[in-house]
């Protein structure tokens, strides 16, 4: 399932003279375990690529990239248990 609604966009901003691009946070959509993380920091992803898969109710719940870009943060790991919904799992810019 596509989970576009679980992504949050940030605007471009300047901090101490450095221009930061718009980044998008991909949030976990269900409570459960992280089964597989398929991306690392620095990876280029296309919109729709599966970033990570959660496990809940014996089902795999795919979390897809809402935009194309570069992965700048991965805050989850394989087999991590008891992750709450709404956790910032991956950030893409």
């Amino acid at each position: 399932m596509r989970l576009k609604k679980c992504a949050q966009s940030k605007q471009q901003y300047v901090h101490k003279g450095v221009l930061y691009n718009m980044s998008t946070e991909v949030l976990t959509s269900v409570p459960g375990n992280i089964w597989k993380v398929l991306v690392e920091v620095g990876d280029q992803v296309n919109e729709g690529d599966v970033l990570f898969i959660m496990e809940v109710m014996k089902s795999e719940v795919n979390h897809n990239a809402p935009i194309s870009g570069t992965v700048i943060e991965v805050n989850i790991s394989n087999d991590q248990e008891g992750v709450s919904p709404g956790t910032v799992a991956v950030v893409i810019e």
Partner: protein
């Protein structure tokens, strides 16, 4: 009529009390896991408490309405919105033709119920609208709802703004530990006294590999009576094996050292002992527990379990709606 824009996670049609009377043929009752919230949702839109409604699990669906319709959302807080604007739960609300109702992920609890004035029009299978997703029977085409599907709704007029009295709602807490009542048995003499004590004193963690069939628990190892360890071979090799028997709904099955609570879509028989059973009045708590939350079991008598059920039945009436 409404159209499924996003299906959510195994969102299904259920009715109450489900497909009762066919367990001897292998068909579990199915039905809503939190029947307390489910019944209140139906009562809010002036339906019979048993009418078909949607059960949403962990993350809800988006539904586009083709006619004006009065609905209600009860149970877990999945942040319901109509065309992006938050709408109240535990209250009948009007969705206008062309509007989309969207439920997100659950902030509190695990299962949310959407009722529709006039109910959901789906064929009865063995006397019930309830979906038994794994077997592919009941509901709409036998399975959870799918993107692009159209769902026919019944016609009934009722007014928006009807609310559930505050003291009549189930307390869907978020403390991470649920106290779950259990009745001892049917296999009440297979664990030794220490085994029963350890079971009741432990905090059991709900595994993510739990669904409407069974809730798997992690916790300490249990010890057995001689009855379990020194028995005739047809019972099986493990201490927790027993010659095949019927399972009660809510039975806590001991598979090796893993307790599995057999819930609404659970199996009707098998060869593991059932040292405890969760009474029906406590099922709503199972339905609202999330993976990695803990269960602490409290033993009650059959009489107390029946009292709890009577109290819940009394709450699930129009007297709780204002």
């Amino acid at each position: 009529m409404l159209e499924v824009i996003n299906q959510g996670l195994e969102t299904s049609v259920q009715d109450y009390p489900g497909r009762v009377g066919y367990l001897n043929q292998g068909f579990p009752p199915s039905g809503p896991m939190d029947s307390w919230s489910f019944r209140l949702a139906n009562l809010l839109v002036n339906n019979d408490e048993s009418e078909g409604a949607l059960e949403c699990q962990y993350t809800g669906p988006s539904l586009k309405f083709e006619q004006d319709h009065v609905i209600a959302v009860c149970g877990a807080d999945m942040q319901p919105k109509i065309d992006g604007k938050s709408v109240p739960m535990w209250e009948s609300i009007l969705v206008k033709s062309g509007q989309t109702l969207e439920l997100g992920f659950s902030l509190n609890g695990a299962r949310s119920y959407i009722s529709f004035a006039g109910g959901i029009e789906s064929k009865l299978w063995l006397g019930s609208k309830s979906t038994f997703h794994k077997a592919g029977v009941g509901g709409i085409d036998g399975h959870a709802i799918k993107q692009g599907q159209k769902i026919s709704l019944g016609k009934s007029s009722t007014k928006p703004g009807r609310k559930v009295r505050e003291d009549c709602k189930p307390n869907i807490q978020d403390s991470g530990v649920w106290e779950i009542e259990v009745v001892r048995g049917p296999n009440d003499d297979w664990l030794d006294e220490k085994g029963y004590e350890v079971f009741l004193n432990a905090e059991w963690k709900l595994q993510a590999r739990s669904d409407r069939t069974g809730f798997r628990l992690d916790g300490p190892s249990l010890t057995f009576n001689e009855k379990a360890t020194n028995k005739s071979p047809e019972h099986g090799y493990e201490p927790s094996n027993i010659i095949d028997q019927g399972y009660p709904i809510g039975g806590i099955n001991l598979a090796g050292q893993t307790p599995i609570i057999l819930v609404n879509d659970g199996p009707s028989m098998g060869g593991f002992i059932v040292p405890f059973t969760v009474p029906s009045a406590s099922f709503w708590k199972l339905g609202q527990a999330k993976p990695s939350e803990k269960f602490k079991f409290r033993e009650v008598s059959v009489y107390e379990a029946q009292e709890m059920r009577s109290e819940q039945t009394a709450i699930c009436t129009q007297g709780s709606i204002i």
